[in-house]
Every structure is written in structure tokens, then in C-alpha cells.
Symmetry: C2
Subunit: 231 residues, 2 copies
């Protein structure tokens, strides 16, 4: 890992063209050759970057660039595609290299898979008398998140999202269309379950006879393991 703080201008050409005017920025060169150009704000996303695999070549500026104050030019070329990042460095304020070693990696918990798991356990959140058929119910166009039957024994297909967007309703609609062709299952009702459901998604779902259920992740997690709530 090499970190360089320098005044520089940056040009990217590849999937699009982008240009960064002269300013002071932090350049990161990772062990795999990837390069990140960060400013002192914004988000975790760099202003410009090059993903691995790629190669950095340092060269002297041409006459014009040198006259304009450029002292060195980094050309970061993707070894897969045509993407190229050209960093024209004027002044270097800091330059250090460190051996970080390989990172042991991240442990995550709490995403959509967990919501699905919890809803499968607490299937009566869909209404009294519901029974779980199975999670990841396979169909020709992909697995339905949860398949259940209601108190009356009718099939219920559930699509789970963290953020309930219009796309999720479209996805569930495709499943329902397919499932309702199966005489063993039909009629299949749809339930759109999410931590948060966008207004447009709710309108579209309702219009298509799909029920919307808002999931309270913390409450569900609390029911699942009351210990985690008592602190």
C-alpha cells in the first residue's frame, strides 16, 4: 500500500471520459496495482479509480506538460479492457509505502437473507394461520423468497426486500404469472414484504392485487433472540 498526497490533475478514459482539474488529493496505490484518487470529502467512493487488474507506469511529462508544472505522469492502464487513468502530478507533499499483509476479511450479518430467515420463522406475520411451505421455492425463472399457505390453504408467494421498490413488485408479478399457470398451486396470491415500501411500489402492488407488508427488523430480531434486545 502506497499513499501519496499531491497536487494533480486526472483524466479517465474508458466506459466514459472524466476529468479532474488541478487540486491536492490523496492517491492510494494498492498491492494489486489498483489506484484510488480521493478528495477530502464526498463519500467512500473515490473521485477516480482504476480497478485491478491494472498496471501503473510512471513517466516524465512531455515538454508542454512540463512547462505547465507537471513533474511526473502516472499512467494506470487496465490489463483487461481499454480503461486508462492518467494522473499528472505537479507537487508531491507526501509519499509513503507500507506492508499491510493480506486482510482476514469481513464478517457480515443482517441483510435480506436474515430477513427471509426471520420471516420464515415468524410466518404468522403474514396473518394468523399461515404455514411455511419453503424458503427459496424454485421456479423456472428463479426462486421465490418464501412460499406459504394461508389459513384457508391457499398458496401465498412472498417477495422480500430491504427496500421495497417498483422492481421488486415487477419481480413478484413475474413469479405470480408463472405460478398461477400451475394447477397444483393456483390460485397464488402475492405478498410484497419489505422494511420500507416506496409509495409508487405500493400503488403498483395494490393495483395488481398484491398485499404489502412492512417488516420491523428490530422487532423480528428481538422475537428471534430476546437476549439481543436486553441491553
Amino acid at each position: 500500500m502506497r499513499t501519496v498526497v499531491a497536487t494533480c490533475s486526472v483524466d479517465y478514459t474508458g466506459r466514459l471520459d472524466a476529468h479532474l482539474p488541478l487540486a491536492t488529493r490523496l492517491l492510494m496505490v494498492k498491492a494489486d496495482g489498483s489506484v484510488l484518487v480521493h478528495s477530502d470529502g464526498g463519500s467512500y467512493k473515490p473521485l477516480n479509480w482504476m480497478s485491478p487488474p491494472c498496471k501503473v507506469a510512471v513517466s516524465a511529462p512531455d515538454a508542454d506538460a512540463g512547462a505547465a508544472g507537471v513533474t511526473q505522469v502516472w499512467t494506470v492502464q487496465s490489463t483487461k479492457g481499454d480503461d486508462r487513468l492518467v494522473i499528472s502530478i505537479h507537487e508531491v507533499l507526501h509519499d509513503a509505502t507500507f506492508d499491510l499483509g493480506v486482510d482476514p476479511g469481513l464478517v457480515k450479518d443482517g441483510v435480506e437473507a436474515h430477513l427471509q430467515e426471520l420471516l420464515a420463522e415468524q410466518i404468522d406475520l403474514l396473518g394468523p394461520g399461515h404455514r411455511l411451505v419453503r424458503r427459496e421455492f424454485p421456479t423456472a425463472i428463479g426462486p421465490v423468497d418464501i412460499m406459504a399457505r394461508d389459513a384457508g390453504g391457499a398458496s401465498v408467494a412472498v417477495e422480500i426486500k430491504r427496500r421495497g421498490d417498483i422492481d421488486g413488485v415487477e419481480q413478484l408479478t413475474r413469479y405470480l404469472e408463472l405460478l398461477n399457470r400451475d394447477p397444483l398451486l393456483a390460485p397464488v396470491r402475492g405478498v410484497f414484504a419489505a422494511q420500507e415500501i416506496k409509495p409508487q411500489a405500493r400503488v403498483l402492488a395494490t393495483d395488481r392485487g398484491i398485499r404489502c407488508v412492512v417488516l420491523d427488523y428490530n422487532a423480528m430480531r428481538g422475537l428471534d433472540d430476546p437476549g439481543t434486545r436486553l441491553f
Copy 2:
């Protein structure tokens, strides 16, 4: 902008829970208080981070942590939500602070808006005799990228994407459904135009009578300004 290289372990709690075991990493603290934890590989995405607005508090470790080798603890708390990042630092290998100033920002070219602009200018790419009606043609469910009429005067609705995915076909389908209810416009045909069209999207589009057109951005740009092609 402060950069710190240190051996540390990291815990995030918020929208999910995540833990990073002890290892040497680069910590970035930006002027707005946001914090990024980078390893020496992966992508431009940090292993962990905290988006602004947030506050960093440095404290001494408790007895247990101290005995385990922790020398200082950074608690990064989101000032908006409940998200929290706790960085337990063992050894600091490097610590430097720089004044980068405000970045003048990025200039981009070549995104969907530009594709739309170019296709509007070169509307005959849809076929001889096509005429542009207007860009961003308004409908109740959002604007259609381009509305045109073919040589016979029939309406053509065009959805433009950089990458033609199944979602884009669904979107265009919704527009067509709506537009075809308008007797002044109907019948409206659909054209799905993208730099790259995924096989499944093409199948779905074709099945629905939507024509697929692959756009060559470089060729279109070249036509728009021949100067840029002559080098």
C-alpha cells in the same frame, strides 16, 4: 484529511453488523468527519466506513481491551442514524494530516444523458425516415427517453440504457401500456436502445414486440463531432 496506518480490529453496527479481525489497515479520516477503513486490495470500496455526517471520538481502552493490546479506541457515531463504527487500535505505524482544500469536482462525459442527446440528433439510427417528436416525453408514470414517429407517421417510444437489462424492458413495457391508451398516439411501438443488450432482455423485448437497437457510442460521438475521431 488524516491518514493513519495501524493494526486494528473494527466493529460496525447499524443497518447490519460486521466485524473485522485484527490486521494492519489504512484509516482515512476526511475533513467532513467521515472515516474509511481500507485494506491493501479489493476494490475502491472500503472494508468498513462511516458516511458523513458523523463524529469521531477517541478514548482509552477499557481494562480488558487494554490487556488485549488495544492502545486507543475510535468511536465513529453517525449523527443522523444509529450507525456506529468502533475501531480498536493496537499499534500505529503512521499518522499524518494534510490540508487538501475543497476539490473542484469531476467533469463527466458519456453517460446515458449524452447517449440520449446523440440519438435525438441521429434519430435515423432507428431507421430511415424517423422524426424526433421530443426527448423526455412526459407521461403520468415518468418521462419516456425519446418519442419519435417512423416514416409512416406511427409513434415510436424509445427507452435508452447504457446496459440493456431486463428492468429496462419492463420500464418500456409500462410506458407502452400507458401510451397505447392514448388514441392520439396509439398504436405506439417500442424500441429498446442500449450500448449493450443482455440476452435475457433481448428475449423478453422480442417476445413483447419491442425492437432492440444496439448503439455504438464512439461512432455516434464521431458523427456528432468528426474532429474527435481524427487523431
